[in-house]
Symmetry: C2
Subunit: 87 residues, 2 copies
């Protein structure tokens, strides 16, 4: 049986306790200056949406987790990397 095709999302963000100058700039200089004071925080990150051939959604997610670590898609000292299968 041929494997199925799954969509896996990878989100790379600065760690929660680290500063995020990009998010801070968008928050202060764009959103708050624009009058949207209901927005109390903004964090910026990178999204990679991958299409993966695998037998199961879990296998697709595990493969992407492995390649993110293996290929150093993110810096474990500075970033968190969240991997999730979509749909």
């Amino acid at each position: 049986m041929p494997p199925h095709s799954y969509t896996v999302e990878v989100i790379v963000e600065n760690k929660a306790l680290a500063r995020d100058p990009e998010g801070e700039t968008i928050h202060h200089n764009l959103i708050l200056k624009g009058g949207y004071t209901q927005v109390t925080n903004v964090r910026a990150g990178k999204l990679l949406r991958m299409t993966v051939n695998a037998d199961t959604p879990d296998n697709a997610r595990d493969l992407v987790k492995k390649l993110c670590d293996d290929l150093r898609i993110y810096n474990p000292a500075a970033h968190t990397c969240t991997v999730r299968t979509v749909g």
Copy 2:
């Protein structure tokens, strides 16, 4: 009653039919060269995670949709902008 606090995710991507040089580079020069041929496509995008005070999740999402259009967080000619409330 004070409003609740919701997390809203904004994803800005190149339109589906437009090329995505960043995703292509990650796919060809990193992932395929690394031997992960099960990955058949990669699209890169930007994630903004906003914390918003609102009465309901729908109101939080609608406010963020409005500010993304209003403040030109994305370029409607080149990008799609997806807004979703989390949790």
